[in-house]
């Protein structure tokens, strides 16, 4: 069973994927990216990812929590450090989740 809202979400993401992945192949071969758009291409994805990730990590429920009692943001910092040093996505996921679980167990115990 797929809810109507989810169908719309699937459509929206598929459309966004088509526009960005297939779109460039439909443009004329001589077209070049204008410099201002080029800057937006470099900046926007990082800003979008940061704006998505941050609330996910610092809110517990609807409350801003930047203390040790919220293991999520600490796991995020650990993951960033691991990726910056190792360039390995697997190590990042495993290391970040390990930090999360260890802190959670420590807080509970």
């Amino acid at each position: 069973m797929i809810e109507p809202y989810v169908w719309w979400v699937i459509l929206a993401i598929t459309a966004a994927t088509l526009v960005t992945r297939s779109g460039p192949h439909l443009l004329g071969a001589k077209l070049r990216i204008p410099p201002s758009f080029d800057a937006a291409l470099r900046f926007a994805p990082a800003c979008a990812l940061a704006a998505i990730i941050a609330p996910d990590l610092v809110f517990t429920g609807e409350i801003l929590n930047l203390t040790w009692e919220n293991p999520k943001w600490i796991a995020g910092v650990v993951a960033a450090v691991i990726f910056a040093t190792s360039r390995s996505m697997i190590a990042t996921i495993i290391g970040g989740m390990a930090a999360f679980w260890i802190l959670k167990a420590w807080l509970a115990g």
Binding site: A12, T17, A46, A48, A54, D56, K72
Partner: protein, 229 residues
């Protein structure tokens, strides 16, 4: 060289990255279900949209029933890097029919683009670039879908208290870090993060586009400042 040989080479050269693709797909599958999608919903999203990071980015928006236009805009922005890939690869697909260009363009991914660029760096006059590309794309697609579906189906047996949806966010962290090597991007991303946290209480999750806007402006200003200095 026959197209078949080039296709096989494309498949083969993606293999070293397969564990990474597999882990990412697995995590995305688990995160989709743990964020509230049903198993058929998650499988449909994975098979139809095949969108990796955009899927993950949409999850917190979906969980709060954000408006569809915001999900579309967010997915486009997260996917903007593919526009760069497309522009760079365009000449290699230009001779194909429109439907083939749409199809092959749709199948591009971060890892296979890296492989394809590396090949053309090594051998600028590689005789069968399209077949190589298609081989890498098919391999990437298969690893991704198989691991996503394993994650989706397996997730129902994993307790919510494990907090595995966090793994999806950590995957996005891994995508964000390498983008922040330049000061303007780092400054913009930091401001975007802080803005979206401060503006979190705005309706329709408008804190997200506001954060992106303020972040991009910050990055622009920082770059101009450094250009002048």
């Amino acid at each position: 060289m026959s197209p078949r040989t080039a296709f096989r080479q494309g498949v083969r050269e993606l293999m070293p990255a397969a564990p990474g693709v597999f882990a990412w797909g697995l995590v995305t599958g688990v995160a989709m279900v743990k964020s509230g999608l049903s198993v058929p919903e998650a499988i449909a999203l994975s098979l139809i949209a095949y969108a990796g990071s955009a899927q993950l980015a949409a999850l917190p928006l979906m969980a709060t029933f954000a408006p569809i236009w915001l999900i579309f805009v967010t997915a486009v922005i997260v996917n903007l890097r593919f526009v760069v890939y497309g522009v760079m690869m365009r000449s290699h697909l230009a001779a194909l029919s429109i439907s083939k260009r749409i199809g092959l363009g749709f199948l591009v991914g971060d890892i296979m683009f890296a492989r394809f660029s590396a090949l053309l760096e090594r051998e600028p006059h590689y005789p069968q670039p399209v077949a190589y590309y298609f081989g890498g794309a098919c391999s990437n697609w298969m690893w991704w879908q198989v691991s996503s579906i394993i994650g989706i189906v397996g997730a129902t047996g994993i307790p919510l208290s494990w907090g595995l949806e966090l793994a999806g966010t950590l995957t996005l962290v891994a995508l964000l870090v390498p983008l922040c090597r330049q000061w303007p991007v780092l400054a913009g991303a930091t401001v975007a993060a802080v803005t979206s946290v401060i503006a979190h209480d705005l309706p329709l999750r408008l804190g997200l586009p506001l954060g992106i806007l303020v972040g991009v402006i910050t990055a622009f200003l920082v770059e101009r400042q450094r250009g002048v200095a």
